[in-house]
Structure formats: structure tokens, C-alpha cells
């Protein structure tokens, strides 16, 4: 990098707006003093001593904050229904069961700034009248678990948790609950079942968790990133927050930028930033001069967005309109070397394995779709398979019990919509244009061959023949497409198509 430029002038930093990630990497998360030094627990003091429960809810409502777990439900409205719900006992739950492959937004906040979540949960509890909170965090995040526990203990010592917080008579306590690695436990009702000690399976709505949640008591459940936005909103006021973002969605969103991109990592951007800016300015574009093909947002519940939609401004509705979703913030960039059928297969495979098995369409339907995709990637697809995929996908979306099933076909349906030609190439021409699907590849030896015979010796199935110093030949019917010959060839005479 040019020495004259500050790191802050880099597009990667300059174009971000850090609210949820404000403290991450700046403070020592195991020292509450450092959190306090950066305005920590001031929002809680303001909430309790100045605003009162209704004042807090009004502030959150006016901020326009929406659920960052992916569904985008207005947080203020959720809190108000929790406030209005009748019950002698209410609960606050933080959903820290981040499960999308390649997503680690919540993990960074939990590990880098655990107090922000604890402060926000306490504010939420004060607002709705809850006395007990749970953080449902996945056991695969041991550092997050450790730091959260340290933070809870420190908050207790300082009097930010426990009875009579700030001498107000309001008391609140937080316990950790460790998830056992089921993706579906990120679904509110399954998560609650899991905290109750039951098998993590979604139950029908209604009743909503706001009215009957944990142990059938009114429960407000928010995602880690949603909570992390609360202290700044209370401190700086709703007006400040509502000035950031798009018309319908205020504030910022953290994305985990990954895949075929120059600068990977967590990026926090004002909602409404165009996809193109995130990928090409912040992310620095595609490495190796390759061509951008698609960006996948929303993980296994999302879809693939092609070049033609790159100027879409990121928010909940706009992404849904083009067949994907905001989701919890995974953003995987793909270039010309990615096979879209294979990508769809990868994400669907995840959903198949993580389905809880309760409802028919998700349990049986996704498995059937996966079978069809595997048939296509192995070169045995027929054109009617594509119609079957579309029909099945629609019915699964239409009939599944919970969000996991309702969104599981998205990766397939969106790639079918935008990259149908790639599917057709697999089915009609029996080729994989990106050169990914092994069964459709063919290794051939070109005239560059010098007849050294090295390929013949490395081939594990002895399917290469040829005399010394003459061009060798691969028998495609015996070839297992391992690629060993191509790697070994000293003159790059072997190509795959």
C-alpha cells in the first residue's frame, strides 16, 4: 500500500459505517472498564434513570431498527408487544446460534464486544418488564462462551446485572445456554424448545413467542446484531440512527464477505448501499482478473444474484424481490469458475442435513430435490428434471412449517431463474461450463504432448496409453477424473473440458 495514505482512507474502511462492530478490535472484551471507557452502560443508565420503559420502546420504534437475524421484523414493535403482553414473568432471549455456513457476524460481536449484548438485553428487559434472560449461544463458539460468562460476572460485580440496578428496584439476570449444533435451533420456537430441554423442533405459530414463549411466558427474542445496535440508539437518539440507511430499513447491516473476492472479512455498511459498491469498492473486486458471476446472500436460505442485479440497493425487500434474502449476513461472491448447479447443490445439501425432520415437505422434499440435482451434476439429468425442481421447490416453499423449509429451495430456484442456461448445459450437452462437476469433465491430451509417460505412471486406474515419445491417449470410459495426470504433466499438454 502507498505509505502516504492512512489505512482509514482505504475504501474497505472508508465506505463502512461501524455501529454494531464499533468496539470490536478496539477494546479488550474481557475488561469491563474498557467497555465503560467507550460509553458502555451509559445507555442502560439513560434508559432506567431518564427514559422509563415506554420511553425506551418509543426510542427503539422511532429508530426504525429491524431484526438483524434476517426476517427484518421491526424491533420496536416486537418490544411493545412484549411490554403489553400480560404475565407475571417475562423473558429476554438473545439468539446467538449463528449457523449459516461462512457467517460470523454474531461471533465477532460476542467475542469482541460481549458487554454490548448484555447491556442491550438489560435495556430490553427493563422496557418490557422481564426479570430473566438467556443467551442461546452455539457450543462451537468456545471463546464467545468464555467471554460472555466473564462479561456477565463483571456486570454483576459492577451492579449492571442483579437486583436493584442503578438503585431503581429493577432486577435482571442472564444465563448462558449452549446449543448442540442444530441449525434449526436458530428458529425462535425450536430455540425455545431447546432451552426448555426438549428436542429442537419448531412448533406452529400462533401462539407467537411474544405472548407464549419460553415456558409459555411472554418472551422477546432478538438476534445478537440487533441487540448490539440498541446501546448506540439509546445513547445517540433514534433520530441519529434513523438518518442512516434506506427509506424502509434504517441503520447498518454487517455482512461476512467471502468467496472469490480480494478483501474478505466483516463489513458493516449503511442499509441501501448497492451490492456493486460492497463487492467492487469495499471488497476490491474479483481476484486474478476473473469475471464476476453471482453473489449469494442469506446463506442456505438465500439465493444467487447475477450481474444484472448488482446495482440493487441492499435491504430486506429489495433482496427478496430478486429471489434472495438479507438473511443473517452471509455474502459469498462467485466468479466464472463456480458452477451454479454445484453451488445450489451445496446449499441444498446443508438444508437437507439440517432439516429437523418434522414436516413432510422439508424432510422429504428437499431430499428429493437434492437427488435430482445430484442426477444433473453427474450427467444423468433430463429436461423434465428442471420442471420437477421448480414445481417441488414451489410446493416446499408453500407448505413447510418453519422458515428453514420455506426458504430451503431458494438457492435452487434463484439459480434456475438466473442461470438456467448452465442447468441446460449440464442436461442437454452433458457439460459443466465452469468445469466443476467431475462427472461431466473430460481430460484430453493435446498435441503438446512430448510422450514422456509421466501421466501414465501417475494415473491410478491405468487408463492412459501411448508409446515413448509419441502422443498419449486417455480412455474416457475408464478415467475417474482425478486430475493427477494434469498436475503431473511437465508441458501442460492435458486439458479438462
Amino acid at each position: 500500500m502507498d505509505q502516504k495514505h492512512s489505512v482509514l482512507e482505504m475504501d474497505y474502511i472508508r465506505k463502512q459505517e461501524r455501529i454494531a462492530l464499533k468496539n470490536c478490535g478496539l477494546i479488550d472484551p474481557e475488561r469491563i472498564e474498557e467497555y465503560i471507557r467507550y460509553d458502555g452502560y451509559q445507555a442502560l443508565a439513560k434508559a432506567i434513570l431518564q427514559l422509563g420503559p415506554e420511553g425506551v420502546i418509543e426510542e427503539v420504534e422511532a429508530s426504525g431498527l429491524r431484526g438483524r437475524g434476517g426476517a427484518g421484523f421491526p424491533t420496536g414493535r416486537k418490544w411493545r408487544s412484549g411490554y403489553l403482553a400480560k404475565g407475571n414473568e417475562k423473558f429476554i432471549i438473545c439468539n446467538a446460534d449463528e449457523g449459516d455456513p461462512g457467517a460470523f457476524m454474531d461471533r465477532s460481536i460476542l467475542e469482541g464486544d460481549p458487554h454490548s449484548v448484555i447491556e442491550a438485553m438489560t435495556i430490553a428487559a427493563f422496557a418490557i418488564g422481564a426479570t430473566k434472560g438467556f443467551i442461546y449461544v452455539r457450543a462451537e463458539y468456545p471463546i464467545a462462551v468464555k467471554r460472555l460468562q466473564i462479561a456477565i460476572d463483571q456486570a454483576h460485580e459492577m451492579g449492571f446485572l442483579g437486583s436493584d440496578i442503578f438503585g431503581s428496584g429493577f432486577g435482571f439476570d442472564i444465563e448462558l445456554r449452549l446449543g448442540a449444533g442444530a441449525f434449526v435451533c436458530g428458529e425462535a420456537k425450536a430455540l425455545i424448545a431447546s432451552i426448555e430441554g426438549k428436542r429442537g423442533m419448531p412448533t406452529p405459530k400462533p401462539p407467537r413467542t411474544n405472548d407464549k414463549g419460553l415456558w409459555s411466558k411472554p418472551t422477546i427474542l432478538n438476534n445478537v446484531e440487533t441487540f448490539a445496535n440498541i446501546p448506540p440508539i439509546i445513547r445517540n437518539g433514534a433520530g441519529w440512527y434513523a438518518a442512516i440507511g434506506s427509506e424502509k430499513s434504517k441503520g447498518t447491516k454487517v455482512f461476512a464477505l467471502g468467496g472469490k473476492i480480494n478483501r474478505t472479512g466483516l463489513v458493516e455498511i449503511p442499509i441501501g448501499t448497492p451490492l456493486r459498491e460492497v463487492i467492487f469498492d469495499i471488497g476490491g473486486g474479483i481476484p486474478g482478473g476473473k469475471k464476476f458471476k453471482a453473489v449469494q446472500t442469506g446463506g442456505p436460505s438465500g439465493g444467487c444474484i447475477p450481474t444484472e442485479h448488482l446495482d440493487v440497493k441492499i435491504d430486506y425487500e429489495s433482496l427478496q424481490d430478486i429471489g434472495s434474502m438479507m438473511g443473517s449476513g452471509g455474502m459469498i461472491v462467485m466468479d466464472e469458475d463456480n458452477c451454479m448447479v454445484d453451488i445450489a447443490r451445496f446449499f441444498l445439501e446443508f438444508s437437507v442435513e439440517e432439516s429437523c425432520g418434522k414436516c413432510t415437505p422439508c424432510r422429504e422434499g428437499t431430499k428429493k430435490m437434492l437427488g435430482i440435482l445430484e442426477k444433473i451434476t453427474s450427467g444423468e439429468g433430463v429436461m423434465s428434471d428442471l420442471d420437477d425442481l421448480e414445481r417441488l421447490g414451489q410446493i416446499i416453499k408453500d407448505t413447510s412449517l418453519c422458515g428453514l423449509g420455506k426458504t430451503a429451495p431458494n438457492p435452487v430456484l434463484s439459480t434456475l431463474k438466473y442461470f438456467r442456461d448452465e442447468y441446460e448445459a449440464h442436461v442437454k450437452d452433458k457439460t459443466c461450463p465452469a468445469g466443476v462437476c467431475k462427472a461431466l469433465l473430460q481430460y484430453t491430451i493435446t498435441d503438446k504432448c512430448i510422450g514422456c509417460g509421466i501421466c501414465k505412471t501417475v494415473c491410478p486406474v491405468s487408463c492412459i496409453t501411448g508409446n515413448k515419445k509419441e502422443k498419449h491417449v486417455i480412455d474416457p470410459s475408464a478415467c475417474i477424473r482425478c486430475g493427477a495426470c494434469q498436475e503431473a504433466c511437465p508441458v501442460d499438454a492435458i486439458i479438462k473440458r
Binding site: K358, T360, G365
Partner: protein, 349 residues
Amino acid sequence: MIKLIIDGVAVEVEKGTSILDAARSVNIKIPTLCHDDRLKPSGACRICGVEIEGSSELQASCTTPAREGMVVRTQSDRIRASRKQLLELIWEDHPNECLSCQKAGECELQDLCYDYGVEAEGFAPLKVRTPLEDSNPFYTFDKDKCILCGKCVRVCEELQGESAIHFVQRGHETAISHPFEKGMAYSTCVSCGNCVEVCPTAALMPKTEEKFRVWDIDKKVRTTCSYCGVGCQLDLVVKDNKVVRVDAARDGENEGMLCVKGKFGYSFLSHEDRLTTPLIREGDGFREASWDEALDLVADRMTGIYKAHGSEAFAAFASARCTNEDNYVLQKMVRGIFKTNNIDHCARL
């Protein structure tokens, strides 16, 4: 009260009623595989999906409460297509064994597949059959025929209160099993058979002595269980003048529930050692007698003893297997005729 319209019919139901129940109240049938009125709605099978105006997705009618002004459709091309697709998905995983299956004719999956025109052809039969779980003496569990409606799990948990079985594994591998999977016989199962009673397919089947199918049944005889005084109603399933199965009656006080004895303990009925007529002892043996003769004999002997030895020569022990009325009459006889308080009941022990 809530007013809504289902298939053009105006319906009025109480707040909290599901669309399914609202439809049933006006004789509109919506198919289900996982619903049971006695259990909490689970919404697992998704067969009962209906269209609601203003909602883009199909809604499961068993778990969606009726709301004021709702306009519901229970039949349309879209609904039929989705039901048929869901049934095909279930059927694809099901052994194609209706020809040899004892449940044929009273199998809810078979009936629905027939209704919705699901063809058996084109689906490869299961390659490897999971062995039958038959460690329990009274019933068998065929994992491959299980459609995971979850009724067995819920009846065990919500009504029987045992929670002996539950779901294991995830996704397509999901199955019904029990802790440590050592076999049902080694679980906390009390063999009440209420899970067998609600199973819509042949996944849970009673162990019957003989093979029969629903059309072989001559008649069903409603009776009161003779094992205790509760009065559970049951239907004896009779073939060739022999009881071949016991069904719990839904419309009795027991509401379709039975215990292991009522459900499975019926083989004594046709046992060769069973007494079918009174026997009177003569010398070293017995001879058959009529009820009149036997009762006269007992009355004579008792009167004789009473005259010779008085009240204190008598004592009676009542049985919990008798009804309250029988026990009342017995103590009446002991106190009023034998004139003694020497009466007790096994339930007091």
C-alpha cells in the same frame, strides 16, 4: 363468536377454533395424517393446507385459528397438486407392500393416496428393508412404514404420560425411537398400545395370532373391559367367531385410551382352559351344570352354614375387577343377608 367463510359456506365458531375444526363443523372434510382431536396440533404432515384470501402461502388448517372475516378454500387445483405431491414424497419412502400388508384397507396413507391419485409405479422399492423391531411382546415397529406423523410420540407424552418414545436423528434420517435404542422391550414403555391405536399406517402393529385384513372382519362388538372397574369401552374385532384384535372406543369414557390388559389381554377369551359353564364338584372331579342349578346349590349351602354357624362364619372379598355397582351389591348382601361386617376389598391392600 367468529364468522368466516369456508368454500362459500358461512361458518360461525368460537374464538380459538382451528380452520380444520371450523370446516368439520359444517361437514367439510379436510384430509390430515398427523391430526388427532385429543392431541395438541402439531402441523407436521402439511396435508391439510388450505388457501386463505390475502395469504400467499398455503396454511395448515389444523394449526391456523379461524379469524373474523376469513375466506378459506379447501379445494383447488393448487391445493390438490400440493397434497398429491406431499403424498408422493411420503409414498416414495414407503415400502410398496400393500399387497401383503395387514393394514391394507384401513391404512390412512393408502386411502389418501387413492383419493389423490398417487401411482405406485415409477417409484423404486426400498433397497434394504430395516428389520422389524419386535422386542416388545405386544406390538411391532416397522421403521420403513413410519411416516413420522408423530402421533405415537404425542399420545405417549400428552395422554399416557410416559414419554417412552421420541424422534431421533435429523433431516431425512429422522426416526421414532427410544432412549439408547436397545429395543422397545428395554425402554420405559408400559405397552399400553395407545401408540398402536393412533398409527395411521402399519408402522406400529399389534402382534396378532392370525393374519386377517379389514374385509375379513365379521363384526365389531362393543363391550366394557372386564379387567377393572373403570369401564373402558372397547370394540372386539371378531373373525370366524374369534376375537382377533381389540380396538379402543373413541366415544367411551376412556376416549380411545386403554391399558396393556384391555388392549392386548384378550387371548384368554378363546383359550381351551377357559370355563364357559359352571362346574359342580362330584367326587374327585367336576361336572358341568346350568347357572340355575349352580346358584341354587350355592344359596342352599350358604343358608345351611348361616343356620348352623351364624353370621361370623362369613367373610367376603370384593374385587377391583368388578364395577362399583357389583361391589355395592356384594357388600349389601354381606351386611343385609349374612348380617356381618366381614367384607373387604383388594384395592385396600
